[in-house]
């Protein structure tokens, strides 16, 4: 692998990502805006519904689900299917560069942007609401990166099964919105009736939210091993299917 070219491509794709205002809004601004809204309404005082934790303290790790969903379920699959439809991937095949680099660059850019989105949210919460962090640094980073990988695998599957951009957009929205609103990634799952919580349990992002919250609040990784195993299963299946089904043109 030629790291120099991979880096150049990643830098360029990163610039293109930031020139897309929709990406910038939903990834970098929207989570902070929602936090300001909920934080503004409920403050960050300990609340019974959140087991004695503050609204903001539980929301920040939960919003990781929101941020990862934007890059993993929207940006990644839509860009890949756009590049395929516009024959950009094919154009790269007609160079010494393997088009795999385009995918590597896309993973790199989206991963980086996911991290940046999370950091921005963290900073907003810290400055405005006096956010508390009760966990350990390493487990939180590990669960965050693992969750990102897992949701990205779903994004790849969308790119692999969608025959064109229209279909990819339709599938992405169909997957993204439930993941955004029914999993606790935006609206706290604790506020939902029991039946909805049961439905939520089958959505992968629910488990991202659950695991992130747990390690953020200082619980051990082992305490959410079920959720993490489920995400691992999803990752393996989705990547396997994506490799089988993905077409360059």
């Amino acid at each position: 692998m030629d790291l120099r070219i991979a880096l150049k491509l990643t830098v360029l794709e990163g610039k293109l990502f930031l020139r897309n205002y929709i990406n910038v809004f939903f990834l970098l601004l929207f989570p902070s805006l929602i936090l300001l809204l909920f934080g503004g309404m409920f403050g960050n005082e300990p609340a019974a519904i959140f087991g004695g934790y503050g609204t903001v303290d539980v929301s920040v790790p939960a919003y990781a689900g929101m941020i990862i969903s934007v890059t993993g379920l929207m940006c990644l699959p839509l860009t890949l299917s756009e590049y395929r439809e516009k024959k950009i991937l094919k154009r790269f095949r007609a160079t010494p560069l393997s088009p795999h680099y385009v995918i590597i660059a896309q993973i790199g850019v989206n991963l980086l942007m996911t991290v940046v989105g999370m950091l921005l949210l963290f900073i907003t919460a810290r400055i405005v609401f006096d956010l508390h962090f009760m966990g350990d640094f390493l487990p939180v980073v590990a669960v965050f990166l693992f969750s990102t990988l897992s949701i990205f695998s779903l994004g790849f599957l969308i790119a692999a099964v969608a025959p064109n951009m229209m279909a990819a957009t339709a599938i992405a929205y169909l997957v993204y919105f439930p993941m955004l609103f029914l999993t606790g990634a935006t609206i706290p799952i604790e506020m939902m009736p029991e039946t909805m919580q049961k439905i939520a349990a089958v959505l992968p992002v629910t488990h991202v939210v659950k695991a992130m919250k747990a390690v953020w609040l200082g619980e051990s990784i082992a305490s959410v091993s079920n959720s993490l195993l489920l995400l691992a299963g999803i990752t393996v299946v989705c990547f396997f299917l994506s490799f089988k089904l993905f077409r360059w043109e």
């Binding site: 360029l12 293109l16 516009k86 024959k87 094919k90 154009r91 010494p96 560069l97």
Partner: protein, 313 residues
């Protein structure tokens, strides 16, 4: 020297033969045209030669390389402009050129190439703001970056306005002067006549006829059309002249069809000697367009008489 050799090339999609036993050679500094209707197998043929598609059978060599097995080496010596490729949204001309330059070991200077392609002042422009012609010229810049010996242009001028098309033709001839070999895939017969040294007409995955443009046209027994205004003349007067095959009148216009030079000479002589008052005389030599129509008509009648449905389409 042969830059491209294709021997009994076949491409299959499922049971369908998209390219069926196609053979041709392209010499150095030649402009080789592949023409034919949609679905004729032109792009499939070219994609095999470009290493983008695997042939079902047959042998292909490009500058001595096997395009499928030696792809990396291949992309150092060929440049490709693919049919209707778009580029990333919001990418700038300069950024794209810089990226593509970094893919090659000894790339040509993209600054110079942009200058040659009259895009020098568009480096900071978003690719999405370029006109159709500018975008195609950018595609050529990218295709020329590896300092290639062979360039493939697939429907380069489709969708361009007439001025941009003529500009592209001049460009192709200039590139050939610089030592390049060009393979041009086109729908347009006038384009092929304007720039190509040799041409292959494809349909149904096969090459129906190939050779120099003059040869190809000469191989068909096509008639020259001489027409002029002569209100007072009876068409029958010209019927017996040497080389003349048919004469008809369409309103005020007399239309004579016949063997090229013989008929033209005879008609002009007759008009002169008999002091016929005529005007607006036009001689239309048969070209590739006529060859193509002849072939198309030929195939149609062939298809209806032999109960179609075998291999091919």
């Amino acid at each position: 020297m042969k830059m491209i050799e294709a021997d009994a090339l076949t491409v299959k999609y499922g049971d369908l033969y998209a390219v069926d036993d196609v053979s041709f050679n392209v010499a150095e500094q030649e402009i080789f045209g592949i023409v034919g209707p949609n679905g004729a197998g032109k792009t499939s043929t070219v994609e095999c030669i470009e290493g983008l598609r695997r042939a079902h059978s047959g042998r292909v060599r490009v500058v001595g390389l096997d395009p499928w097995r030696e792809r990396r080496a291949l992309y150092g010596v060929i440049g490709a402009q693919l049919q209707d490729t778009a580029y990333q949204d919001r990418v700038r001309v300069g950024e794209l050129c810089k990226l593509f330059s970094s893919l090659y070991r000894n790339p040509a200077s993209y600054v110079e190439l942009l200058e040659i392609m009259q895009l020098g002042d568009r480096r900071r422009a978003l690719v999405s703001t370029l006109s159709g012609g500018q975008r195609q010229r950018l595609s050529i810049v990218l295709a020329l970056l590896p300092n290639p010996r062979v360039v493939f242009l697939d429907e380069l001028t489709t969708g361009l306005d007439p001025r941009a098309r003529h500009q592209m033709w001049d460009l192709m001839l200039q590139l050939r002067e610089r030592g390049l070999t060009i393979v041009l895939v086109s729908h347009y017969m006038d384009e092929v006549e304007a720039v190509c040294d040799r041409v292959a007409i494809m349909d149904g995955g096969r090459i129906l006829v190939d050779g120099s443009v003059g040869d190809v046209v000469g191989r068909f027994d096509l008639l020259t059309e001489i027409s002029f205004y002569a209100g007072l003349m009876q068409p029958g007067e010209l019927a017996g002249l040497a080389g003349v095959q048919s004469v008809e009148r369409q309103r005020n216009r007399i239309i004579v069809r016949g063997r090229s030079d013989e008929a033209v000479g005879a008609v002009l002589q007759y008009l002169g000697q008999n002091s016929v008052a005529y005007s607006g005389l036009v001689v239309k030599q048969p070209g590739l367009e006529e060859v193509f129509l002849e072939l198309a008509g030929y195939r149609l009648s062939e298809a209806s008489s032999t109960a179609a449905g075998e291999r091919g389409r």
